[in-house]
């Protein structure tokens, strides 16, 4: 178990990075709390896997240091860092039995055989492959193989951290659920630091206490699922978390008020933005109220998604989405109001807070 500090990490795959665009990881300066469960969330190619491989030591960062409990491990090998990592696609040792596959990381570290046996049996039971212990791993199905990969990551209980790189991609939905809750339970039981890469927001939000959202090689926000939902600190977070994503409308700031097209909305604070910055207003579809009062809006389409309806409308020339309950009525000359507490103002895509 360890606290992991990423000290100004930058990484470029090419030899001579010049601009920001050459960096797969632009700058990450962050600390992962000992025993925390973090989900790394972001679109494909945003640097999640790069960051993970830097933590496990499979990759050397171009700049910066990594510290485990304050100790610099930047130049230590993967093995010396004592990290477990599970990859996106199953990696199994074909010629070994299921049992030997699971015992492999322990035997390599010269764990006494009775202890190996005890732990392997625990894991076999957990991943529900007890009956296959003596089988060769070769002919198994993809999700059985991935369960073995997962088991190999979990079998060592003295690791500094366990890193998961989208481990449930190849697992069928039901089993995904079971494994996810088992991971959560194990985390509670042993308290290891856990970093879980995914591009599936449901997975991230149910799994982790802290979600780290990455976008274009940098961390744009770290927070609890509620914080990400209510106060996205970057328009990307607003767009990426939630379904449908946050409405982002270009606005002009006028002291305590904002202008959207011909409409003016007053706020209870004065957002500060640098002159010439691109200013936007963000409001989640859940906090837009549609009714007979407020600002005029043109309803284009209503999508029924079960217990809720999504109203696609045009407001001040911009498309917006509004979430309403299933039984709510949408008047012919609809009008909208924004919940003032749920409004976020962005300058150059970054949120400008109430504090200043």
């Amino acid at each position: 178990m360890a606290r992991i500090t990423l000290d100004h990490i930058r990484h470029a795959y090419g030899p001579n990075p010049k601009s920001d665009a050459d960096y797969a990881l632009r700058e990450v300066d962050h600390e992962w709390r000992d025993g925390g469960a973090y989900a790394l969330l972001g679109p494909s190619g945003c640097g999640k896997t790069t960051l993970l491989n830097i933590i496990s030591g499979l990759l050397q960062p171009s700049h910066g240091r990594i510290l485990f409990d304050g100790q610099d491990v930047t130049n230590l090998s993967t093995q010396a860092r004592n990290i477990a990592q599970v990859f996106q696609f199953p990696v199994i040792y074909d010629t070994m039995t299921v049992y030997d596959n699971l015992a492999f990381p322990l035997r390599n570290r010269r764990v006494p055989e009775p202890e190996v046996d005890r732990r392997v049996r625990d894991i076999l039971e957990m991943i529900d492959l007890g009956g296959m212990a003596k089988r060769k791993a070769q002919g198994l199905t993809a999700d059985q193989k991935q369960k073995i990969s997962l088991g190999r990551g979990l079998v060592r209980n003295d690791v500094n951290a366990i890193l998961f790189d989208e481990p449930l991609t190849v697992i069928d939905p039901h089993m995904k659920w079971v494994l996810r809750s088992q991971l959560k339970r194990l985390h509670k039981q042993f308290g290891f630091t856990m970093v879980y890469v995914t591009h599936d927001q449901t997975e991230a939000l149910t799994f982790a206490d802290k979600v780290v959202v990455m976008y274009e090689g940098q961390i744009v926000q770290i927070g609890t699922p509620a914080e990400l939902f209510e106060r996205p600190s970057h328009t990307f977070v607003g767009y990426f978390i939630g379904s449908p994503g946050m409405n982002v409308l270009p606005v002009q700031l006028q002291g305590n008020a904002v202008r959207i097209g011909s409409e003016t909305l007053s706020l209870d604070y004065a957002p500060q933005a640098a002159a010439g910055a691109k200013t936007e207003l963000g409001i989640r579809p859940e906090f837009v109220n549609i009714g007979r009062e407020g600002m005029p809006v043109t309803v284009n389409r209503v999508e029924d998604i079960g217990r809720q309806k999504i109203v696609r409308a045009t407001f001040a020339g911009q498309p917006i989405a509004i979430v309403v309950t299933e039984d709510s009525e949408i008047p012919a000359d609809a009008r909208v109001t924004f919940d003032p507490a749920a409004i976020n103002i962005y300058a150059n895509s970054w949120r400008v807070g109430r504090e200043g």
Binding site: T78, I83, Q85, F87, P105, G153
Partner: protein
């Protein structure tokens, strides 16, 4: 899955059958024809039955050559397979080194066999050859024309030089097909260099190694041109392999009947041994 029977499909195989018939089956049948008859020229043939086969199987000359063939193939496999794996493991995986290594490796394979023989024939000569002359100058009593052991060493070295590349290229193809994730997982699991080889690289190379062993066995067992050029089967009969003996008998002595019988036995031995190799090497897959 249920098989669909469509007898018209046989017509699709017909062109290949005709081609194979003309290129392989019909020539083979003429050999069968010779092997059961005796001839003294003038296109006169007399029925000989199994006489030539019996004679060949009772001939010391045949068994001695067969033994030399087996020893040669075993030595060649024992050297080329491990050496090929070793070189393949140490070849660069990316960068400018890859094409350079691949071209260097492919070079020996591109040289015509009799040229390879000539190269080594000259290379090993004591009077002008780089290898032969250097060894002699250093005080070694090396002479492949006189000494059977030296002749064998020369021929084996030549075959290793000529054909190890094939094993290297096949193994290399197997190695580069292993995804990076396997090596990464092995690092995470704390696997040693040997474990990585034993549990990741070797299993992934198994299929290409099977092909390499089969090809190298068949080719080395049928070797003719290179030793013929270098030693001509000598000194004495020490490097006379079955193929060389066969040509001596058929072309030199014009004993067509015994030569044909020997050809067929030779062919059956190669077929049998290749089948044994294949069965042994694929059997571990079956009980997985």
């Amino acid at each position: 899955m249920e098989k669909t029977w469509n007898n018209k499909a046989w017509f699709l195989v017909l062109p290949v059958l005709v081609l194979v018939a003309f290129s392989a089956v019909i020539p083979l049948m003429t050999v069968v024809n010779y092997s059961v008859q005796d001839t003294f020229g003038n296109n006169e043939f007399f029925w000989a039955g199994t006489d030539w086969f019996v004679q060949t199987l009772h001939s010391d000359r045949f068994w001695a050559a067969l033994q030399r063939n087996l020893v040669f193939s075993l030595i060649v496999l024992a050297l080329q397979i491990p050496l090929g794996i070793f070189i393949a493991l140490n070849m660069p995986k990316k960068g400018i080194g890859v094409p350079i290594c691949l071209v260097l490796m492919a070079l020996p394979l591109l040289i015509p066999w009799n040229v390879v023989g000539t190269i080594w024939q000259v290379f090993g000569r004591v009077d002008i050859g780089l290898l032969g002359h250097t060894l002699e100058a250093m005080g070694f009593d090396y002479n492949y024309v006189r000494d059977p052991l030296d002749a064998w060493i020369t021929i084996i070295l030549m075959d290793v030089w000529h054909w190890t590349s094939l094993v290297v290229l096949l193994c290399y193809a197997g190695l580069v097909s292993i995804p990076d994730a396997y090596y990464q997982a092995a690092k995470i699991d704390g696997a040693s260099r040997w474990s990585v080889f034993r549990y990741i690289q070797l299993p992934k190379m198994k299929r290409v190694l099977l092909i390499a062993v089969l090809l190298r066995f068949m080719d080395s067992f049928m070797i003719y041109t290179e030793p013929f050029v270098v030693t001509g089967g000598g000194p004495g009969n020490s490097t006379t392999f079955l193929s060389i003996d066969l040509v001596k008998m058929a072309v030199g002595q014009f004993d067509l009947g015994p030569a044909a019988a020997m050809s067929i036995i030779y062919f059956l031995i190669i077929l049998l041994l290749s089948w044994v190799f294949y069965t042994v090497m694929t059997s571990s897959d079956a009980n997985a």
